[in-house]
Amino acid sequence: EAGVTQFPSHSVIEKGQTVTLRCDPISGHDNLYWYRRVMGKEIKFLLHFVKESKQDESGMPNNRFLAERTGGTYSTLKVQPAELEDSGVYFCASGIQGRGTEAFFGQGTRLTVV
């Protein structure tokens, strides 16, 4: 069974450019989460989809970040325009509904804004 897949694995862009990160969850997982770890800080929640609906987007840092999950399958996270402080590792995770269920993580996308 394929795990959570993220594209690209690494992206280097200039400040002011746009970047789109993609996450393919495990098939059948209704829950999809985006997290981010910036240098020296803890992994922080960005947002949570249940199917195609945003359940919680309280962790999104500002309106330069836009997440979508059309059709309830894969998700994209767009950063436009990127700033230096957006550099970090962006993780996607997916899971099924239910108490205490596991979140399966992707390998992460390392974003470097120069």
Binding site: E42, Q55, Q97, R99
Partner: protein, 112 residues
Amino acid sequence: AQRVTQPEKLLSVFKGAPVELKCNYSYSGSPELFWYVQYSRQRLQLLLRHISRESIKGFTADLNKGETSFHLKKPFAQEEDSAMYYCALSRKYGGSQGNLIFGKGTKLSVKP
């Protein structure tokens, strides 16, 4: 405020020694707690969860609500246990799984 604290950034032990990775939490409600592990060049993966009360790879963790702790323990460390360990707390929305609040992580290094 909801928070997970892992006081040790790095823990270094010798093979065969006992290990305890500390985790304290702050949460108003009934928490669900997890330990996730990230081995070198691998993705973050679940190690264990408090509701299962299981032992995985020799590790156990007991939820202590009085001390608001969920420390991870193993009686005899192995070199292959060297990894980054994250304690996490799950927020819930109406009974279903919510997002995870992570601690900063503890790097465990087991020396031969």
